[in-house]
Structures are given as structure tokens and as C-alpha cells.
Symmetry: C2
């Protein structure tokens, strides 16, 4: 108890001093007014806890209740009117309410929150199959209290119940595994990390536990995330050494009460590199045994260990093809080792080699022949688009193309290609754009969401991954608004039918405040921000115009002696005096468009029917091609870049007006980054237009604000940045 108080003390002190540094994320639990507390008490007069002690859900409810109301949670010993009853199916009381059958349908994570009559009392029940469900239910309840109590004096207006003061919520997550991928290296750096070094203090582990480990787990649980891959997909074999596994065990124990399972990225050549074997050939029995032994060792330490994430035969990493084996051979060997413990293998489909073959089509060509050949505990992890987390890509054609293999989407939360921690870019619209994309694999309506969440193909495994944007910065994510992307990923992983609008609304209200004059314009800004970034970076289907290595800022002209062609922007934009864009059509191009189902294949294949947002992704288009607007392609490109700049300036105006609604620290941090974004947008516009103008040989329309940079000067910019922080 003394220890608990002490660590509570340690936790509270910084949050009091730096109350609004963003460290509390969306879990700020701002105190309710007396009137609001009274409203709340009309709905929840007391709480009847049907769970034994040490239940995280209860601890969280107690903590939040105290923060919100200033009072202790009013625990009751017996049912009263307006009691809140909390329990799993094991609870006698819950059983007596006749909910058991329904609870069986909820899986381990689902829950109900329902107002019902019991022994003459009107009560609200929080019930689930297991403890995880209760945790998610409590965070759901707390979110609803925060969102709706302050803006209305009763809960009736917002809940699903048919009459006032009632709840009728039933939630089951869209994906069973909702997981973050940390690209954290063992030396503390983070590949594509923009929020400071790694949270994981490997040097201190397992002996010393940073208080942030628990906060991390708690934040994830609050939005439904239930898994974390601790280390970079470009994995060091070292992570599987016993010394590191002891450290992983320590983290797993902190995370376990919050329902977070630990996973590891593994290096395919670990048997040789770490185990001293002469090979890592997946068909070699010694190798297979090495992995089995390793699995046993891991599960001996971490009984609920989740499994492996593998990047193999990709960008120089080892893999089964090094031994003449297939990706299926490799994945299955690992799957067999994990199977006894219910562990899984997430095998990344992000593979491409330097060849004459269009990079956009390589993963499809590599993996579709293997459909049906993977073990049931293998899931292919597929990036949302066929290239690499660009500001806009069409969805990866692998989605829908492998009906007998479990597929999980991989999104990037960290903003590798979207201005790092300097640009305000709300990514829910990007995630949603992919999830809502219709693959047509089983006719109209075969969205990526349905292809992956089990609705269309009944795979036992469903999962979704997001590459984390989390570091040791006080505010976790570098940019205050980058927290929204962590939040949005979690919420969409929980419920892929949520809209970016609803998620933004939730996040803003919990993270900042409830005032309509703040929420509405800020939401509007967030919702427009991804399209703005596309506009000022890479509109109309352009992609990968980024600077070499660090990917911050434009380098459409980039040449690096000896570099792989497919790592250079010119590979993607293919600008010449005739036009611009990558011809992926069937007749004259790379034929990659053929990987999509009809009608997309036909629509994308034809210049006239290809959506303009993908135009230069699929076509090499003449500069004077007439766009739907009536403008030539060149002019449209100019106007679109300019629009992006104007949009960011608009965001600055929006945010500056919000000063009185936000604490000074967060206001100024965001204001300052918007300034950078505004300057960067001009940089992008000038760089791309001035460079492409050397091909188009046409003036930038004269009603557009003129470039303020010289192409030659822009070409000289070499930022002192690495690909990791």
C-alpha cells in the first residue's frame, strides 16, 4: 500500500505540474461541475461490484470516478435503484439476470452495458464473458460520461436506450487482434519515430520498470488495443536471447492487467545468428527444433505471449527464399513452433526486389500463388497500399485476392511520409478510405474491412496492425494532434464502422474540451488535414517524391549514385516532356492494374474512368490532358498544390482563433508546428511545381501565388535527419 501510494505520488506530481503537456492523452478526466455530478448520480447512484479484487476495470473506474466527481466511487453492497452492476458471466447476480447466453456471443473482449429492471430496481449492468470485456466496457462508460454528461444534464439524448436514463450498448470488436507495431530498435532509437527515443528502457529492464509502461498499457486498453509488437520489424536476433526475453517478460507482466499481449518481431536467421546453427533453412530439422525450443522458452516466461511478426526477404532482410524455400515454408515452420501455445505468426507481405517488375505489383505476384498454403495460425500482414504508406495510395490488390489466407491490414500511425511530428495530419480518413474500398472480390460491397474482419471469409484469425507513433516525449507522439492518430487507429481497430468524424469528435472532446466553438472548427480542420497534405505533397496519384532516406520534404529530382531505381522518385513520377505518371495499364504499362477485380481493373485502366485521385498512379498523362475541371493536367496540378498551401494557412487561422479554449502550452506547441507545416507546404509546392515545370515547360497559372524559392536552392537542401530518431 505504501508502495502504491508512493508510485501514485510519483505519477501525480508531474501531471499536476505539467498538467497540460499532453501526457494524459485523452484520459484527462476533467472534473465535472456539481450540476453535472448530480446529473450523473441520477443515472448511477451506486456501484455493485461483482468481481473479486485486483480487477483492472474496477481500479480504472474508481480512479476515473474520483477524478471526474471528486468523490469516491459509491460502492453498494446490494442492489438499489440506479445501481451500476459490474461483473462477468461468473457472477451469480449477472447469471440471475439471464445474460449468460448473450455473453457467450461476445467473445473475450465484447461487453454489454444495459439498463434493466431487477427486483423492482432500475439498474444498469456492465457484463462480459471475461475481465477484458469489463475493462473495455468501463472505458466505454467513462468515455460516454465524459462526452455526454457535460453537454447535457441527462444521458438520455445520447444513449441507445429507448427511454431516458437507459443504456443499451453491446459491443464486439471488429478484429480479434488489434495490435501496435513498434519499430523500436534495441539501442533505443525508433525507425521512423518522431516522438523521442523508445519507451522501452532495455538497459534498465527487467529490474526497473518505468511508470510509463503501465500508462502505455492503460492508454491502449482505453481504445481497445490488445497487442503490441515491441521491436522493429527490421529485427535484431538478439531479441530472442534469454536476457532480452527476461526483459520482455517484465513488460508483459505490466501489460497483462490491461489485456495487452506481447509479440516480437523476429529475424528469420536467428537460428544461425543467435543459435549458432549452420543454417536457418525452414525445412532443416535442426532449425525447426531451434524454433520449437525457443517457443517453449518464451512461453515458459510469458504464458500469454502473442506470437511473431516477420519481415522476411524484404529490403535486405533474411528469409526462406535465401534457402530456396517459399514464404509459406518459412511462415509455417514458425507457426508450427508456436501452435502448441496458441501463438500466431504475422507474416508481412511487404516484399519487393530491385527488378524490371513494377514494385506495385510484386507482393501480389509473390503471395497469391501461395493462397491456401499457410497454416491456420499464420496471418499475412498487408500494408494498406501496394507501395509504402504514401499520402494516398489505392488499396493493396492483395486484399480480396487471397480468400483462403487470413489477411490483416497494416497502417502507419507514425507519419513517415506525412510530415513526421511537424504536420497536423489526421489519419482516420486515410485508414477509413482503405477499409471502405470495395475490392469487388465477391461482388459489390466486398470492402477491405469485410475482407479482413471475417465478415466475408470465415478465417479463425482476424487482426489489424498500426505502426506506432509513440516515443518517450512527454506527450507521447511528438505532435499533440498525432495522439489522435493513435486514438483513431485503436477505435477503428475496435469498430471499423466508426467514421472519422465521430472519432475526431470523441478525441477532441476528451483531449481538449467540449465547447462547440472549439470542437466544430477543430474537427473540420482535422477532417480536411489529410486531403490538404495530399494536395501540397502528392496530388492526383503522385507518390514517393520524398527526400532520400529520411523522407521529410520533397526531392522529386533525387538522384543518388548507385541507388536502386525503385528507391528514387523518378521511378514513380516518370515525368518527361510529354507528361507525368506511372503507366500501370494493361496495354502499354506495367499491367499492375490487372491485379484488381472488375470493375476496378477496367475503370483504373482507362484514362477517362480512372478516378483523378489515382490518375498518375495508373497513367502517364500528357501535360495538356483535360481534367474534369476543364483545366489541363499541368494547371490542375498547380492549382491543387496551391490549394494545399491555402488549406494549411486556413488551419493556422482556425487554430489561432482557438487560443482562449486551450491551455497555453498545447496551444503554442500546435501553433508552432502549424507554422512549420505552412512553410513546408510552400516548400513542397515550389519544389514540385518548379521541378515538374522543367518538363511541362508551361507557366504556373498566373492567378496562383508565385514560388518564393529557387529550384536550385531547393535542390541543395540536405536535412541532417536519419531514418530513425
Amino acid at each position: 500500500m505504501k508502495n502504491f501510494l508512493y508510485s501514485l505520488f510519483l505519477f501525480l506530481i508531474p501531471t499536476l505540474i505539467y498538467a497540460e503537456d499532453g501526457s494524459k492523452l485523452w484520459l484527462r478526466y476533467q472534473p465535472l461541475s456539481a450540476k453535472q455530478v448530480k446529473s450523473l448520480s441520477m443515472v448511477i447512484s451506486s456501484v455493485l461490484i461483482e468481481e473479486p479484487g485486483d480487477c483492472t476495470a474496477i481500479t480504472e473506474l474508481q480512479y476515473a470516478w474520483k477524478q471526474l466527481t471528486g468523490k469516491e466511487l459509491p460502492v453498494a453492497a446490494s442492489l438499489k435503484d440506479y445501481s451500476l452492476v459490474i461483473g462477468t458471466e461468473k457472477s451469480k447476480l449477472i447469471q440471475s439476470l439471464g445474460l449468460q447466453k448473450e455473453l457467450q456471443t461476445l467473445g473475450s473482449d465484447g461487453f454489454i452495458i444495459r439498463t434493466m429492471k431487477s427486483k423492482g430496481n432500475r439498474i444498469t449492468v456492465i457484463a462480459s464473458k471475461g475481465e477484458n470485456g469489463l475493462l473495455y466496457a468501463v472505458f466505454n462508460l467513462l468515455r460516454n460520461i465524459q462526452l455526454y454528461v457535460p453537454s447535457s444534464n441527462i444521458l438520455r439524448t445520447i444513449q441507445l436506450g429507448s427511454s431516458p436514463f437507459t443504456f443499451d450498448i453491446k459491443e464486439v470488436p471488429s478484429y480479434k487482434i488489434r495490435i501496435l507495431n513498434h519499430w523500436d530498435n534495441l539501442d533505443g532509437t525508433i525507425e521512423r519515430g518522431y516522438a523521442g527515443h523508445s519507451l522501452w528502457k532495455w538497459d534498465e529492464l527487467p529490474g526497473k520498470l518505468s511508470p510509463r509502461y503501465k500508462e502505455y498499457a492503460r492508454a491502449n486498453a482505453s481504445i481497445g488495443i490488445n497487442g503490441t509488437v515491441l521491436n522493429n520489424v527490421n529485427a535484431s536476433p538478439e531479441i530472442l536471447s534469454n536476457a532480452y526475453l527476461q526483459k520482455v517478460k517484465a513488460l508483459a507482466e505490466v501489460f497483462r492487467p490491461y489485456g495487452i499481449h506481447v509479440y516480437l518481431s523476429v529475424n528469420f536467421s536467428s537460428p544461425a545468428a543467435l543459435g549458432g546453427l549452420s543454417t536457418s533453412d525452414p525445412l532443416n530439422e535442426g532449425v525447426q527444433q531451434w524454433w520449437k525450443d525457443k517457443a517453449k522458452e518464451i512461453y515458459g516466461l510469458i504464458p500469454d505471449f502473442g506470437g511473431f511478426l516477420v519481415k522476411a526477404n524484404s529490403e535486405g532482410l533474411p528469409g526462406p527464399q535465401d534457402f530456396g524455400r517459399t514464404h509459406a515454408d518459412g511462415a509455417n515452420m514458425l507457426a508450427d513452433a508456436l501452435k502448441p501455445y496458441n501463438g500466431i505468426v504475422m507474416w508481412r507481405a511487404f516484399v519487393y526486389k530491385s527488378s524490371m517488375e513494377d514494385r506495385a505489383g510484386q507482393a501480389y505476384n509473390e503471395f497469391t500463388p501461395l493462397d491456401g498454403k499457410f497454416r491456420s495460425n499464420v496471418i499475412l500482414q498487408v500494408k494498406n497500399g501496394p507501395i509504402d504508406f504514401q499520402p494516398r495510395e489505392p488499396f493493396s490488390p492483395l486484399f480480396g485476392a487471397m480468400t483462403r489466407t487470413a489477411l490483416m491490414p497494416e497502417f502507419q500511425i507514425t507519419q513517415e511520409y506525412l510530415g513526421a511530428s511537424n504536420h497536423l495530419v489526421y489519419l482516420a480518413p486515410l485508414y477509413k478510405e482503405c477499409l471502405e474500398s470495395d475490392t469487388y472480390c465477391s461482388g459489390e460491397g466486398s470492402t477491405v474491412a469485410w475482407v479482413t474482419d471475417g465478415k466475408l471469409f470465415p478465417h479463425p484469425l482476424t487482426a489489424i496492425a498500426g505502426v506506432a507513433n509513440i516515443g518517450e516525449d512527454a506527450n507521447w507522439c511528438g505532435h499533440q494532434f498525432a495522439q489522435a492518430n493513435w486514438y483513431a487507429f485503436g477505435r477503428l481497430a475496435w469498430n471499423n464502422e466508426l467514421t472519422p468524424e465521430v472519432i475526431a469528435d470523441e478525441w477532441i472532446k476528451q483531449t481538449f474540451n467540449q465547447q462547440k466553438e472549439f470542437v466544430e472548427p477543430v474537427k473540420e480542420m482535422m477532417l480536411a488535414s489529410r486531403e490538404a497534405a495530399v494536395n501540397y505533397m502528392m496530388p492526383l496519384g503522385l507518390h514517393h517524391l520524398f527526400a532520400w532516406g529520411h523522407h521529410y520534404g520533397p526531392e522529386p529530382w533525387c538522384t543518388v549514385p548507385g541507388a536502386r531505381a525503385d528507391w528514387l522518385p523518378s521511378y514513380y513520377h516518370k515525368a518527361d516532356t510529354l507528361g507525368i505518371g506511372f503507366d500501370r495499364t494493361l496495354d502499354t504499362g506495367s499491367k499492375a492494374v490487372g491485379q484488381y477485380f472488375v470493375p476496378l481493373r477496367n475503370d483504373y485502366n482507362k484514362l477517362k474512368t480512372c478516378p483523378e485521385q489515382y490518375l498518375l498512379w495508373f497513367h502517364h498523362v500528357p501535360w495538356k490532358y483535360k481534367m474534369k475541371s476543364g483545366q489541363t493536367l499541368w494547371n490542375e496540378l498547380c492549382y491543387t498544390y496551391d490549394k494545399g498551401v491555402q488549406q494549411v494557412r486556413g488551419f493556422q487561422k482556425t487554430w489561432d482563433k482557438m487560443e482562449s479554449f486551450v491551455d497555453a502550452q498545447r496551444f503554442h506547441e500546435v501553433q508552432s508546428r502549424l507554422k512549420i507545416q505552412s512553410k513546408d507546404a510552400v516548400w513542397w509546392k515550389d519544389a514540385c511545381l518548379l521541378y515538374f515545370q522543367t518538363f511541362s515547360r508551361q507557366p504556373i497559372p498566373y492567378d496562383i501565388e508565385r514560388p518564393v524559392n529557387e529550384l536550385d536552392s531547393l535542390k541543395k537542401i540536405k536535412l541532417n535527419l536519419l531514418h530513425h530518431n
Copy 2:
């Protein structure tokens, strides 16, 4: 002749290769079309030269005629119809035309160009009292040919004659002395020079003469300039050494055929510093004799030497006050030494000391008591405003306040405070604003122009000075458009009634082309440019917010340990939480406003009647003071800075549209500098608004484009610039 051809060859080669680098200034003499040549020949069929050989006017006419028409000047031996007759009063033919009496009224520089009948022939006469007049007449004729022949097939539409094909022009310059001040140091640097090092190659002189010396003289003559002060007012005594005087003599000999007299800035302590005397006390006989001997030495070498320019007891330079004498004592001593040779003394009124007394009022207080005490060959050289060449100042109250002393305005052509050679700022509106200012010294209409050009007070001496913007850059002035300021100064010195519009029109047509689609927008841009600079730098009467030392860019916050208060921006803007501006009113302020005549004194003294463009010059104004627009002062300040930024962006649009009208080199040079100006305007706006906002504590109106810089970052900018180039 061989030498001449050789030097012609040397001159032509670069102008052919770099035909449009701006080196030809406004003297490009673009070839006329065959049709245009025919038109011209209808007005001038042949030329009858009534002057002996070696007349510069004739040489220039011959050269230009060849350039324009591709043919030799059609010299005639006798009068024919449409002959052009050129001669001074000495010519028998001119005398026979009855022009002698009229020529006597023209002074040394005036001329007539008149179409008249003689012996049955309709002829046009160019006549003057002396050779200089002929030179100015020829340049006038050539200007008119260039301006009007291409745009009309006869001269009738544009000339002053009453019938077609006739001239009736009579011109006498506004000022007798039209002089450039070069702030060129003997080491080749130029104080406040932005166009490369000094034209004067002191190391090579007198033995080697750069071909540019003659080009310099020719360019000046073409716009009526007839004097040049070769060295910096912060003068080295060394300039008066015999070795340097030999160099000066060599330059004077190159300039003489173009009517340019040479003057020197002298250091007041030269007798001690150079002559080895124990004092430089102006009342000391030895000192007086030293100056007399020096004058004799100079005139022995340069019989038409113009005189001395003196900066004394100013910014640390020596002067008569060092010996307890007055400025009059000092000036008169020098005047006495020069008098026998008709030399003059230009004594600068730019004096101020570090004291509690408002710097703006010090020159007036120092000099007005000395009115009437100066010799007749002394002229006080007064900067246009009371501080120092700011983007906008009210006129100096010395104008009109000294009726018994000759006063000459000093303008700055070089852009010390106006963006150096990076900003396009056409200065004719600034010069004209001062010249047209009504001092009310002799009632309404007592303009600075009339006060100084002899119309109001009949001083024997009239003069006007411009601090040159000329250096060894190929285009002479750094910025192609800075040439316009040299041109405009010359033209206004010749005729202070010309408008900025007319001058800009002349300059554009000669420097670029005649096409209306080019001339009109470019002229509009030029005419707006000075006000734009005021807007983005120092609107509403703000002044001297410049960076320390080099004066490029904003430093309203500037503090330098141990610096004189009056060299720091805060001395001038006096921003505090109540308001901003320098209170120079009679009741509560420095009383400097009292130096102006009624009604200005009263108008400026009262907040309500003070013109808003001088508001913060004369008043410390509350942030919430309501301006004529209805806006508060703070908002007005914000909108005005923003307007300046938008104006420069507008200039970029204007110029970019002109690409097809201009040679590539000059187009891109100007385009490139406009980009810098555009970025600088944002820098100015952000720096001033963010800094002043720390006092106003009010938001920048939200409809204005937001700052993109951080005040703290701006404060860290320290450009690696000196006060000389």
C-alpha cells in the same frame, strides 16, 4: 584610331555576348524597324553639324543613330528640307536664325529643339549656349526617338510643336548642380553599396582607365547629372594627397567631355592628419593656408574641379566644433579656399549627438541659428527627412527654415533601408513626395522643390544630391530595377516637375520594351512598390526598426550592450503596453513638431489631424485608438503589414506574366529577387507583428494570413553582412 577601334571592340564584345545583362542601362538603342527608320527620316532627313570636331554630343548622336537605324548619320553640308541643325550660339547659322537672345536665358546646360523655316527649308534646330547644352539636347532627342518612333509612325503625336513633324522643346534644368554622392572607400568597398565594389580602381589609377569610367559619365550625362563626389562622406584624409589627386585628375579627364564635374568628400582634420599641422582649427591661419594651398594644388590639376562635400561633427567625424567653432566657421574657411576657383562647399546638415534631445530635431536646432552666416559658395546638404533615409519620413523641417542659406536636398538612391539590391522599390515616389511637400515657409505652395531650386529664394547656388547605388556589377546597380532609381534621380534633378509615372514610363520603354502589355503592368508595379515597402516594413509613421549595423531586415527588439540609445529601434518605436510611436508633440512630447510651419505644426501636433502615414512619427498612440478606417491602431498595423506582403506577391504575379516580353537573364534575375522580397516581406511582417504583439497583447486579426515564424527564432537571425559591401 586603332586604339579607338580596339577599345570599341572591347566594349562591344561583352555587350554582344551578354547583350541583356543590364549593362547598357537605358541606353540600349534597340534597332528600329525599316518602317520606323522611314518615319524618322521624314522628320530628320540629314544633319548639319555646326560644331567643330570632338564634340561629345555629335559623337553620341552618331553612335546612337547607327545603333537605331543601322546607318551612318546622314551628315549634310548645307541646309535641306528636314535637316537637323546642331550648334551652339557660336555657330553662324544658329546666329542667323535669331536665337542668340533666347540662348542667353538657358544657362550652361539648357537647350532648345525647335522646328522652324529657314531659307525655304523646314528644319529642326538643336541649339544651346555651350557644349553641355547640346549634349543634353542630343540625349533628349534620342530619348524621344526611342520613346515615340516605335509607337507611332510620325513624331507629331508626341512633340510640342503646333503642327505635324515639328519640335518645340526648351529645357532648363531645375538645379544647377545635379550630383551623385559615392560613398566609396579608398579600399574599394562602398558604404551601403549593394552592387559590388567601387567602380573606381584606385590601385590602377591614374595609369589605367577602366572603360566603364566613360560609360559611367555617358549614362549620367544622358539623364542630366553633371557632378560626382567620388569618395565616401566618411572621408579618408588620404584622398587629398597628391598621389590620389593625380588619380582624381585622370577620372576628371574622362568625365569632362560628358559635362561631369568631379568633387571630393574631405575630412575636416586633413590639415592635421595629412598635412602634419598641430591643429585643424578653422580659425587658425596655418590651417586656412593649408586649405588654400590644397585648393591651388587641386585646381592646378583639375581646372573644373567642383568643390568639397563635408560631413563634420557627425557620427564621430571631426569638425569645427572640436575646436569650439561653428559649422559656419568650418564651412566658410573651406569656401574661402575654393572661392578663387569658383569651387563650392556642400556642408552636410546630417548631425546629431547622443543626448536627451530628440534626434529628429537636432539638425534644425544646430543649423537654423547659423542662417545668413554662410558664404555664398556654401550650400547646406539636407537629407530629405529629419532622421535618415527611412522608407517614409516627413520632410526635414530645415527646408524652408533657412531663407538666407542655400539648401540642397540629399536623397538616397542606394537602398540602405529599402531592401538593398534584393527589393524592387522604385524611389521616384519617395523623392517626389519630399519635393512636393509644402513647407508653408512663405505661405501655401512653398514646396521643398521651390525652396531648393531657387524659385522661392534667389540663391546663386542650387543643387540636389543623390547617394549613388552604383558599383562594378555588370548591371551597375545590383537589381535591374534599381537602375530606375538612378535614372529617376537624374531626371528629377533635371526637372523636379516630372512625375514618377512619366519617369517610370520613359525608363521601362528604354530599358525593356515598348509593348503596352508590358509597360503598363510593370509601371503599375513600380509605382506601387515604395508604398508596399512602407507597408511591409514600417507603416503608419514607424521608423528605424532595422537590424543593427547592416540595416537589412527587421530588429525592432534590437539591443546591443553599450549601444547609443538613438541607434536602437526602441528609441524610435517606443512600444509599450499602452501604445506605440514617438511623441514629438508640443505638450507632452519632444516638441520637434514645433519645427514645422503652421499649419503643419498644428496638424501634426494633434492626433486627429495628423496624417496617418506620419501618425507614429509624431505620436505615441494607444493600441486601441480608432483609425480613420474604423479599425483599432493595432488591427490597422496588422492589416497594413499584411497588405504589404500581398502587394509583393502581386508584384511576383505581375512579373511572372512578363516572361515573354523580357530576355531570359533579366527576367530571371528580377524574378529571383522578387522571391527574396516576398519572403522578406513575410519576415518583416512576422517580426514586427509578433514583437509588437508582446506589447499590444491583442490577437492578430484572424482573417489575416498567420505568422509562419517564431519570434524567438527571428530574434536569433544574425546576417553576416557589413555596413559596406
